[in-house]
């Protein structure tokens, strides 16, 4: 799988590149800011671009804006946005433009090579990735109010969170040591309780769940 890395800090750019190479990815280019990144994407058309959210010149959310631009112009290029902070708002903004080939992950997470590789792969294959910390923030916000989340069992909440992270039924089943069939039953219950339209499509279900969780914002 071909990837590019955009980060203004040399140590992170180089570190990520080495790590991804170790994980079996073909790192085809590095960029130091959003402008370089767009040129790089245009030239190399990678499977996934791994983008730091904060880059020059303003050091605010250039990475996020570049990600949106890339999604619009090169929809077949996957995007993984890395952030130093848990910012559910940004994640939701990113997913709102479509939940295919997109992810939002905390920078700290990259030390786990297996997790990083799995996430990049999932995005490259068309899926989505939402950092568990972001999901936890969304669920936490939502639970403060009067919400149908209260009517979910603890197990269903676990499944909901894993769904929001972008995991498939099979991945959820593996994670929770239950059968895929049981996961399907939980998912059905969750959608019924939250009064969300059922969908067999993974992408639409991520969007539905995240939109629901974000609604209290």
């Amino acid at each position: 799988m071909r990837v590019v890395v955009a980060n203004d800090a040399v140590i992170l750019r180089e570190g990520l590149s080495r790590l991804l190479a170790e994980g079996g990815f073909d790192v085809v280019g590095l960029a130091a800011d959003a402008e370089e990144l767009c040129a790089l994407v245009e030239r190399t058309e990678p499977d996934v671009a791994i983008v730091d959210i904060r880059m020059p010149p303003t050091h605010t959310d250039e990475g996020l804006r570049a990600a949106k631009l890339i999604r619009a112009r090169w929809p077949h290029v996957g995007i993984l946005v890395l952030s130093q902070y848990v910012q559910a708002r940004y994640a939701v903004e990113l997913l709102a433009a479509g939940t295919e080939r997109v992810g939002y992950m905390l920078k700290d997470r990259v030390s786990d090579l297996d997790e990083l590789s799995a996430s990049v792969r999932r995005i490259g294959e068309g899926g989505s990735v939402l950092d568990p910390a972001v999901v936890a923030q969304l669920v936490g916000q939502r639970r403060k109010g009067d919400t149908p989340l209260e009517d979910l069992t603890e197990r269903e909440l676990e499944v909901l969170a894993l769904m929001a992270e972008g995991r498939s039924n099979r991945a959820i089943a593996e994670r929770l040591f239950i059968t895929e069939h049981t996961v399907e039953k939980h998912v059905k219950n969750i959608f019924a309780t939250l009064r969300l339209p059922q969908s067999g499509d993974d992408h639409r279900r991520v969007l539905a769940v995240v939109t629901f969780l974000n609604a209290s914002y």
Binding site: A9, L12, G15, G23, H59, Q84, K107, V110, S111
Partner: protein, 342 residues
């Protein structure tokens, strides 16, 4: 031309006599108005008495050695030869206010003098009010500046942490992740990766140490102002003669402000003064910390402006203290802070 002037003398005399009578009437009217029970718009009353609708009043604020309007906002007196003229009203040798008026009025100085004399007491009252407003405005401005300075400082700390330490820690995490992954297949390749992680960790620790020192030096927290000033003078870019006589511990805010003043003053001296030596004196008299930083440099530093000095003054004044700078050209710069410890 000259002949014309001579010819006009009798007219001028006549005009003066007429003016004097008019003036007497105007001053009498003014006195009645000012002593009346109804509140008076002082400017209007004076403008009427002087026959100059464009009249403006400026009140003297001794603390700032400047003039302000009734609302407390700074006012500059007109320069000589400009389109406006100013007459300063004094009371017991001290300026109270200045009338800013049409220069034509200067020709009728008798009227102006009489009006000023009649209005002196009322002007003094108005001056006190204007001074109060000026102090309030100054207080609000300094409060806003303090908030802004705090914000700037927090932004700087956040950026330092984000761009430095956080990035480095992430890179260490990545190196360890890489090491973990290599461990099974290629043990020999792990060692340089671990070494790299350890080096990066050492740098991150040094950065954090520097940052926390910048926020609040450990020596100040642990040992107090005298030790911190000693430490500061040893690390200063210029040789410092230190004369510190303060008790073991002072209130935390006083210690912090004192350290901040000394540190900024030493940095300024090193940067701008071309001095060969700085004298740093700190003493504690009657519950007041007095801190003096004097260099033997070129002087001529701005004593009021400059955001640096302004920031120091804000900080000292917030604690009820006073900061003065004297910097005569060629005779060095002395910065003196008095901070009450109560």
């Amino acid at each position: 031309m000259r002949e014309l002037v001579f010819a006009s003398i009798p007219v001028a005399v006549l005009a003066a006599l007429l003016q004097r009578r008019l003036a007497r009437g105007a001053v009498a009217g003014l006195v009645v108005e000012l002593e009346g029970v109804a509140p008076v718009d002082l400017r209007e009353a004076l403008a009427r008495a002087l026959g100059d609708p464009s009249l403006e009043l400026a009140y003297w604020v001794p603390a700032g050695a400047r003039y302000v309007d009734a609302g407390g906002q700074p006012v500059a007196l007109p320069q000589p030869e400009s389109e406006r003229a100013a007459t300063v009203v004094e009371r017991e040798g001290e300026p109270i206010a200045a009338l800013i008026h049409d220069p034509a009025l200067a020709e009728n100085s008798e009227l102006v003098q009489s009006v000023c004399a009649a209005a002196a007491l009322t002007l003094e009252n108005a001056r006190l009010q204007a001074e109060l407003r000026a102090r309030l405005a100054e207080l609000q401005a300094s409060r806003a500046r303090l908030v802004e300075a705090t914000d700037t400082e927090r932004r700087r700390i956040e950026r330092d942490l984000h761009d430095g330490t956080q990035q480095r820690l992430v890179s260490i995490a990545m190196a360890l992740g890489l090491a973990e992954s290599k461990l099974a297949a290629d043990r020999a390749a792990v060692q340089p990766v671990l070494r790299e992680a350890r080096d990066a960790l050492t740098v991150a620790l040094a950065e954090l140490r520097e940052l926390t020192q910048g926020i609040r030096p450990a020596i100040l927290v642990e040992r107090g102002l005298a030790a911190a000033l000693d430490d500061l003078s040893r690390r200063a870019a210029l040789p410092v003669r230190l004369d510190v006589d303060v008790p073991g511990r002072l209130p935390e805010q006083v210690e912090s402000a004192g350290y901040f003043v000394a540190s900024e003053a030493l940095a300024n001296a090193a940067k701008h003064s071309h001095a060969s030596e700085v004298r740093l004196v700190a003493s504690h008299e009657d519950g007041v910390l007095v801190l003096e930083v004097a260099d033997d440099g070129i002087g001529g530093a701005s004593t009021s402006g400059g955001s640096g000095v302004r920031g120091l003054a804000d900080r000292v004044e917030a604690l009820g203290g006073r900061l003065t700078v004297s910097s005569p050209p060629g005779r060095g710069t002395t910065l003196r802070a008095e901070i009450p410890c109560a």
